[in-house]
């Protein structure tokens, strides 16, 4: 473009954005020209280099000699399109070893970025012990511990195998897992069955009732659901989530509506597929577990985000996850690298007798829901959640509004009644997180720091900002962008 052609438009009339001194907007406005006065503040909390990094990675579709800005824009558009187009359906429930590629032998999956046994937090160690007892690899907790310390058990993050697990997220080969397929792209994701609240494996409890429940899952619940799904055909999880968001759920820490909708959807096929006694126990379990849908929600989100992963140049966040020690994220455009920061304790309410001193730092793959644009990002749908931090319905709306500022689009499939049915903010752009310093909000449960105690509360956590900046730096170096002056 010749300078004259572009600049002549300016001479025809100023339409301005004012960045800085507020007084400069006034004379422009007085002269009848439109002006938006930014409520500006230093980007990246005043870190000049991080601010410049964001600027150098900004979209620019119209630079004739430098394709970078167009590359990033197109990559993000593709990633976003994949997330929005995802159609997760529940196909089946199968034993993990059968369903999850690469999970075999004495191997356990866990939540969050990679971590080895000595660094694992109490709840994850507890869940590992429980899974070993459940698998029968050892007969006592002490022997289970010894087995691990021998190096006889292999560990890998769920995320490395297409799976996601809430809290400790431990998946062992015999556990039944839901098989979710993204019908748009044909990719699959897996998650264990949700155990309910209280003393459960995912919060690190491993006493006999916990193990007994897992055995019932493998022997009864998993096969019953599998038979039911064979009869009913795939269940559309996107439709259930969309409905649940209009019924007070947010798809992460409040799942009572979605669990009820799922139960209603499968009940007729359940009762005609399995014997009456089994159907009764399955339905009683679903009635007693408001969080049953959480793991389905997570697998659905994982299937959508995996479809958006691996696009060169994309700054879209495709995973946020915690292992109780580290918080880790992945970007679509940075391959399988994790960018980690130490993880903090959530802000929340505690069960009687417990307090923040008892809490483990935040834990679990369940932040995949926020990564996909629900959970904390859909807080406006579930005002009850903000009461964990003493908030009001207005605060819930404010959380969702805030997340709009770090996301690329709104998911029109997930309309929020309290926002005039505008969609949930979707597609976290790491550039916007670094620029604005707005940390993604994550709804979460709180585990006791010691193995075996279980859940002690629930609340709201914020993602640490440092890992987003590290991820952007890595993306910049992959794109041969000078990270800073």
């Amino acid at each position: 473009m010749s300078p004259t052609a572009a600049a002549a438009g300016l001479l025809d009339g100023v339409r301005a954005i004012n960045v800085g001194l507020a007084g400069f907007a006034d004379p422009i406005r007085e002269h009848g020209a439109p002006v938006v006065a930014l409520d500006w503040r230093p980007p990246a909390a005043g870190d000049r280099e991080a601010g410049l990094l964001v600027a150098r990675l900004e979209d620019d579709p119209a630079d004739p000699d430098e394709p970078l800005g167009a590359t990033i824009r197109d990559a993000n558009a593709l990633a976003l399109e994949r997330i929005l187009a995802a159609r997760p359906v529940l196909l089946d429930v199968r034993p993990a070893a059968e369903a999850i590629p690469g999970l075999d032998g004495r191997m356990l999956l866990h939540s969050g970025p990679p971590i080895d046994w000595p660094r694992m937090c109490g709840p994850v160690q507890g869940a590992v012990i429980g899974a070993i007892l459940f698998e029968g690899w050892a007969s006592t907790p002490a022997k289970a511990r010894a087995l691990v310390e021998d190096g006889s058990v292999a560990f890998a993050p769920c995320h490395h195998h297409g799976a996601v697990g809430p809290m400790a997220g431990v998946v062992s080969p015999s556990m039944p897992v839901v098989v979710v397929e993204n019908a748009d792209r044909g990719n699959r994701a897996w998650a264990t069955l949700n155990e309910g609240l209280g003393r459960v494996l995912r919060f690190g409890a491993y006493d006999e009732p916990v193990i007994e429940r897992l055995r019932w899952f493998a022997a009864t619940l998993g096969p019953a659901l599998s038979a039911t799904l064979a009869a009913s055909g795939p269940v559309d999880l996107k439709a259930i989530t969309a409905q649940a968001l209009q019924m007070g759920d947010e798809g992460h820490n409040r799942n009572v509506a979605a669990t009820s909708l799922l139960t209603r959807a499968i009940a007729p096929d359940l009762v005609r597929t399995v014997d009456a006694a089994t159907a009764q126990t399955v339905l009683a379990f679903l009635r007693g577990n408001d969080h049953f849908f959480l793991n389905l929600s997570m697998a659905a989100c994982k299937s959508a985000l995996d479809a958006a992963h691996g696009i060169e140049g994309s700054t879209v966040v495709t995973a946020m996850s915690r292992n109780g020690v580290d918080f880790g994220i992945r970007l679509s455009g940075t391959g399988d690298t994790w960018f980690t920061s130490p993880v903090g304790v959530p802000d929340g309410l505690y069960f009687p007798g417990f307090g923040p001193d008892d809490a483990n730092p935040d834990l679990g793959d369940s932040a995949i829901t926020e990564t996909a644009g629900i959970g904390g990002f859909a807080m406006a749908a579930a005002p009850a959640i903000v009461r964990f931090v003493g908030g009001t319905p207005a605060d819930a709306i404010a959380f969702t509004r805030l997340m709009e500022r770090i996301t690329l689009a709104r998911n029109s499939a997930y309309g929020l009644p309290s926002l005039g049915f505008s969609g949930t903010p979707t597609g976290i752009d790491a550039r916007r997180v670094v620029e604005t310093g707005i940390a993604p909000v994550i709804n979460t449960g709180i585990a006791h720091r010691e193995a075996g105690v279980g859940q002690i509360g629930a609340g709201i956590a914020r993602a640490p900002l440092a890992c987003f900046e590290a991820a952007l730096r890595d993306l910049a170096s992959r794109l041969h962008v000078e990270a800073a002056a």
């Binding site: 473009m1 010749s2 300078p3 004259t4 052609a5 572009a6 600049a7 002549a8 438009g9 300016l10 001479l11 025809d12 009339g13 100023v14 339409r15 301005a16 954005i17 004012n18 960045v19 800085g20 001194l21 507020a22 007084g23 400069f24 907007a25 006034d26 004379p27 422009i28 002269h31 439109p34 002006v35 938006v36 006065a37 930014l38 409520d39 500006w40 503040r41 230093p42 980007p43 909390a45 005043g46 000049r48 601010g51 410049l52 964001v54 600027a55 150098r56 900004e58 979209d59 620019d60 630079d63 004739p64 000699d65 800005g69 509004r401 500022r405 916007r432 604005t436 310093g437 002056a485």
Partner: protein, 519 residues
């Protein structure tokens, strides 16, 4: 006397330091307030507060996004009153409706601003310099031209920005660009100038203001006035914005005469610019302060030695008149006033003290004084808007305190005959600069009178009748304070020289670049 130190912290409330310093200045005028400071709680700012003995005002844990108000007061009541006043001023600055439940928060980033105004075509960037490059890059990538008011932007960053802008066909006005007028819309510190056929491109902020205001005074008007930033004509930057502006103005159907304004650029840049105007379809007036008029003439352009001459030539060309206005001279009434002031001087009063808020106006005055009085005169011309005076305090066009101190100090110097001032009006400038100067002028005369002397005050007002401060109002107020007023900065310098010469007929003058000055 023990001081009471009190503070208040506003969490996550970013404000620009200029606004904060303005509020601090207002607090310091309250009775019983010894010192006041408002800062964003960066480590450096907290150290400054501590150095001022007000460290305890910053609560533990205040961070870079938190605003700290600190006061040192004579007593508790004064401190409480000041903190309350600070709160009120901060609330007013936030636009007043901060408490109203806005459905959507105000845009905070350029991306959010563009989402709100999708056909935006210009970003005005006036952030602290350390952040300005990133903001300008984002603006350019969004397809916005940039008016970059911020200073402290490195030349490397300036080149990066102007290279990016060049690829995209966009203009970067700046960095350190104080003023522009685009299609009648004033940007930054601009004057309310009548629209007309004369297009300006200027590397000098107050030079642009002076020429555009004089064009208005002479009855013509301005199509567009494009600022380039003071370093654009540096060898390393190569005059990229000036060249783009020339191309733009030559293609603009509303522009029939061009005026180019700068300090003398480097030789290669002069050549590039004169090449760009050689054979131009419109007459071009070139005012490179102190530059060589012959090479300008050789390029077919009209050299002007002063801002006033540039305005006169351009106005004449725009009206189809004679572009050779002849040498500037003082009209008889002004000359007589100068003689009268000279007659009141005591023996030994022979120096001009120029105390300027505009850098280019100071530069012009200095050249004129040197050419009229020679290097032996004890004249001193200070540009009080220069970085060395503005660290940690607002520009003298906004805040009169520093210049007022200098005026009073100069009156105590037995050598000083004339205090020469510029008064710059327009958007962004002090709302009533004449009133702000008056107390200092009065005090200076008292200081001089106590020593048996009288000081001559000479000033020009750079502005127009429609400026928010009103040219007539300001001139009348200054005249009322005993200031001798000249219609331009160049003439004010000539009057000052005449007075300081004690009315003695000066030697024949070295007449600037074009022989256009007459004593």
């Amino acid at each position: 006397m023990t001081e009471t130190i009190r503070g208040a912290v506003y969490r996550n409330s970013y404000r620009d330091s200029v606004e904060l310093m303005g509020i601090a200045a207002e607090l310091e005028r309250l009775p019983g307030i010894v010192r006041a400071g408002l800062v964003m709680a960066t480590p450096a700012n907290l150290a400054v507060l501590a150095g001022a003995g007000m460290g305890e005002a910053a609560a533990d844990g205040a961070g870079p996004n938190d605003l700290v108000v600190a006061v040192a007061a004579a007593d508790e009541d004064a401190a409480t009153t000041a903190l309350g006043r600070a709160g009120a001023l901060l609330a007013a600055g936030a636009g007043g409706d901060a408490g109203a439940s806005a459905d959507k928060p105000a845009a905070q980033t350029i991306g959010e601003g563009v989402a709100e105004l999708p056909d935006a075509n210009l970003a005005l960037v006036s952030t602290p310099g350390t952040y300005a490059t990133a903001e300008a890059i984002k603006a350019l990538k969004h397809g916005l031209h940039v008016f970059l008011f911020s200073d402290n932007v490195s030349v490397e960053d300036e080149i990066e920005l102007k290279t990016l802008a060049g690829r995209k066909g966009l203009l970067v006005m700046g960095p350190d660009c104080g003023t522009a007028i685009v299609g009648g819309v004033p940007l930054g510190f601009a004057n309310a100038v009548r629209r007309g056929p004369i297009g300006l491109a200027a590397a000098s902020g107050t030079g642009l203001q002076q020429v555009s205001s004089l064009i208005d005074r002479f009855g013509s008007g301005v199509s567009h006035a494009i600022g380039t930033g003071g370093r654009d004509l540096d060898e390393r930057v190569g005059g990229r914005t000036m060249l783009a502006a020339i191309e733009l103005l030559l293609a603009d159907p509303g522009t029939t005469v061009l005026v180019l304004i700068s300090k003398p650029p480097s030789e290669s840049v002069v050549r590039a610019i004169l090449d760009a105007v050689r054979g131009a379809s419109r007459p071009v007036v070139v005012n490179f302060l102190g530059g060589d008029p012959d090479i300008v003439r050789a390029a077919g352009a009209h050299p002007a030695a002063t801002f006033e001459e540039a305005a006169l030539i351009a106005t004449a060309l725009a009206a189809g008149g004679d572009p050779n206005p002849g040498p500037l001279s003082l009209d008889p009434a002004l000359a007589a006033t100068a003689e009268g002031a000279a007659a009141r001087l005591a023996p030994g009063q022979s120096a001009v003290r120029g105390l300027f808020s505009g850098g280019s106006l100071a530069g012009e005055a200095k050249i004129i004084l040197e050419s009229l009085r020679g290097p032996a005169a004890h004249d001193v011309v200070l540009d009080l808007g220069d970085d060395e005076y503005t660290v940690g305090r607002p520009h003298p066009m906004i805040d009169p305190r520093l210049r007022n101190e200098q005026i009073v100090a100069a009156a105590g110097d037995p050598d000083v005959a004339v205090i020469l001032l510029d008064v710059v009006l327009g958007y962004g400038s002090n709302p009533d600069p004449a009133a702000a100067l008056a107390p200092a002028i009065r005090e200076a005369q008292e200081v001089a009178a106590a020593a048996g002397r009288s000081i001559a005050f000479v000033a020009s007002v750079c502005g127009t009748a429609t400026d928010p401060q009103g040219l007539d109002r300001q001139e009348a107020a200054l005249a009322g304070a005993g200031v001798i007023l000249a219609p331009s900065n160049a003439r004010a310098a000539m009057v000052a020289a005449r007075i300081a010469e004690h009315g003695v007929a000066a030697q024949s003058l070295v007449a600037g670049a074009s022989g256009a000055l007459e004593p």
